[in-house]
């Protein structure tokens, strides 16, 4: 019976083998086995090495079919059968089987092992930040008891003693990151709250949502920064309270909209003027000739009705562009 476990997949991939696989992982789960035992179970039952790699929680375990742990730095082969730890997530558990088509039993092994691995990681290492909406809601709710917010922080894998910051994106779902970690390159508009203590995160979240309103898609129709740090807004942040989203925009913003309808290049050109240190740099930014820029600005001043090349005019323009983003519904 020594090799019984190893022989399991030598059987036809019939219901009997699948039932045994399920029973095996159920028992491991009941007995509160650790991650290595789960990966070993997958390897032994499949008869090939199995590996777990969860980048978010920095877990890497690779066990060979003889039960010995031998981690590997080589990347997983995309051809290997794999399973994600969450529905729709990236593959995190692999069976290193490249010689043959994956069997039904492989699929059962991966599915059961991944399910238990996820529960064990949640229990032992906390969920990845962003993962649990209910916990985030508690963490960012200033009216929740402090003990509940600290508990939520720990469950989310945050160190309650270390500063953290909240991030806001247009979908409205908050994210929280340790302050020591830089937000990854933004693919969508992101407002970044200040780094604060864990109990102060509701304030960071409010500031992040404000900062989000100052962001832009960075396109010709919506030029501007895609990521805005609340810390860097200074007094501009006060504007956010004055311009209500979706309300009737201030006259200067209306003037911008009217002018844009006539000159589609207008917004990107004017943004370049406010976002660079010289007209020459602005021309380079939007890749037009310096003289073309001059011509455009003359035209823009005519459409807007105020100068944009004087310091006062540039400030007015800057405020108008900013208020335009704040007025976004």
């Amino acid at each position: 019976m020594k090799e019984l476990a190893g022989r399991l997949t030598a059987l036809d991939p019939d219901a009997g083998a699948a039932v045994q696989v399920i029973a095996y992982f159920d028992r491991l789960a009941e007995a509160r086995a650790g991650v290595e035992a789960l990966v070993r179970g997958a390897a032994v039952l499949a008869g090939v090495p199995a590996r777990l790699a969860d980048a978010e929680r920095r877990v890497r375990v690779r066990v060979e079919a003889d039960g010995v742990r031998r981690d590997s730095d080589l990347p997983p082969d995309p051809a290997w059968p794999a399973a994600a730890l969450t529905p729709g997530g990236a593959p995190a558990l692999w069976l290193e089987r490249s010689d043959a088509a994956p069997s039904v039993v492989d699929a059962v092994i991966l599915e059961r092992a991944a399910g238990v691995v996820r529960r064990v990681l949640d229990r032992t290492r906390g969920r990845a930040p962003l993962d649990d909406p209910a916990l985030l809601e508690t963490l960012l709710d200033a009216t929740a008891p402090e003990s509940a917010r600290l508990h939520a922080a720990r469950r989310l894998g945050l160190d309650p003693a270390a500063p953290a910051r909240a991030l806001a994106t247009p979908d409205g779902r908050p994210r929280v990151l340790p302050a020591s970690r830089e937000p990854e390159a933004a693919t969508e508009r992101t407002g970044v709250g200040p780094a604060v203590t864990v109990l102060d995160l509701p304030r960071s979240w409010a500031a992040a949502r404000t900062a989000l309103r100052f962001t832009a898609d960075g396109t010709a129709h919506d030029p501007g920064p895609r990521v805005v740090y609340a810390d860097e807004l200074g007094g501009l942040a006060l504007l956010a309270d004055l311009v209500a989203p979706g309300a009737e925009p201030p006259p200067d913003v209306q003037a911008l909209e009217t002018a844009t309808a006539e000159a589609p290049w207008l917004l990107a050109t004017l943004h370049a003027v406010t976002a660079t240190t010289s007209l020459r740099a602005a021309a380079a930014e939007i890749t037009v000739h310096h003289s073309t820029l001059q011509d455009r600005l003359v035209h823009a001043e005519h459409l807007l009705g105020w100068p944009v090349r004087t310091p006062q005019g540039r400030l007015r323009l800057h405020l108008a562009l900013t208020m335009r983003r704040l007025a976004r519904p």
Binding site: M1, K2, E3, L4, A5, G6, R7, L8, Q20, A23, Y24, F25, D26, R27, L28, E30, A31, R32, A33, G34, E36, A37, R40, G41, A43, V44, A65, D66, G67, V68
Partner: protein, 324 residues
């Protein structure tokens, strides 16, 4: 009497799920034939004894006890060039509750040691109960050891460095063999490696009650095995220590012993007691109690972390023993 059993190690609990259809905790006398013909023994014996050519394997019939049939020894010699010094020998006694198995069962474990430590393996076939009650099994084991010691040199082995080893009933028979060799003035083994040995026919320790119906080889199976060996004498006043070594009154003068056992098996308390009594008698013993281990766990689930530790402990003890 304690009723809450210690939990099985998580990996071993899961492994039990896989083998529960093949092996159940209990075994009645009526089950013996069924198990003998079942898939389990065949699976255990279905091994590449040469270990991919590392060993030259031979079955040799040698004289049995006086007036008894010949016995068969499975002799596995390394194919690597002979070292300067004759090789040490593992004299292996298979398990199977006194009623099951053959000299292939469990020999892969001995071959692993032999490969690591350049040893010769001799595995003895003994007559099984209930067809052959005590003393047939232990006398066969004894006769095989005498032949091995006398012929060690011709096998390239060192008669002064024979380690006797066995698991379960094979551990019990090895312990009995050590007693017999001491008392009859036979060759002295270098050591005795007793893995989860079956030592006590009384079947009445706390662990034997605690693990009833659980794991592998519970008190029902144990009663079946001992009754097969001893008949109505089982548990009575006149059981020989050469049948049940726990009955020995004197455990002094024995070769150094290694004993191990799972915390979640019938034999836990009798093995711990046997080790303690060796120390009390001024002897040398090393004892490991593997937490959450069921009977024979390292054979049934060799990949489990606890099994790997147990096997490393066996090898480590042998290495130290042979280094002396």
């Amino acid at each position: 009497m304690t009723s809450v059993p210690p939990p099985f190690d998580p990996e071993l609990a899961a492994a039990l799920e896989l083998i529960k259809d093949v092996i159940s905790p209990g075994m009645t006398p009526q089950d013996i034939d069924v198990v003998r013909q079942g898939p389990g023994i065949a699976l255990l014996a279905d091994l590449d004894l040469t270990q991919a050519g590392a060993f030259e394997v031979e079955d040799r019939a040698v004289p049995g006890p006086q007036g008894a049939p010949e016995i068969s020894l499975l002799i596995c010699r390394p194919t690597s060039p002979a070292p300067d010094r004759p090789r040490p020998v593992v004299y292996h006694v298979h398990g199977g509750g006194m009623v099951l198995g053959n000299n292939r069962v469990g020999v892969d474990v001995a071959l692993d040691w032999a490969r690591e430590l350049d040893m010769i393996v001799v595995s003895v076939e003994y007559r099984l109960a209930p067809e052959h009650p005590h003393p047939a099994p232990v006398e066969d084991v004894y006769a095989g050891l005498l032949w091995t010691a006398e012929h060690a040199k011709e096998l390239g082995g060192d008669p002064d460095r024979i380690v006797i080893a066995g698991a379960s009933a094979g551990g019990g028979l090895s312990a009995a063999l050590a007693l017999l060799l001491r008392d009859r003035g036979g060759p002295r083994p270098l050591g005795q490696l007793l893995m989860c040995p079956m030592l006590d026919d009384r079947n009445d320790t706390p662990s034997s009650h605690q693990m009833a119906g659980l794991g592998i080889w519970d008190r029902t199976a144990n009663e079946t095995g001992w009754t097969a060996l001893l008949g109505e004498r089982r548990g009575g006043p006149d059981v020989s220590p050469y049948a049940a070594p726990a009955r020995a009154e004197d455990l002094s003068g024995l070769p150094p012993a290694f004993l191990d056992v799972g915390s979640a098996e019938t034999f836990r308390d009798e093995v711990v007691a046997y080790a303690s009594r060796i120390w009390q008698a001024g002897g040398v013993a090393e004892l490991h109690v593997w937490p959450g281990g069921f009977h024979g766990f390292d054979g049934f689930a060799p990949q489990a972390a606890l099994s790997r530790s147990a096997r490393a402990a066996h090898l480590d003890w042998l290495r130290r023993l042979l280094a002396e």
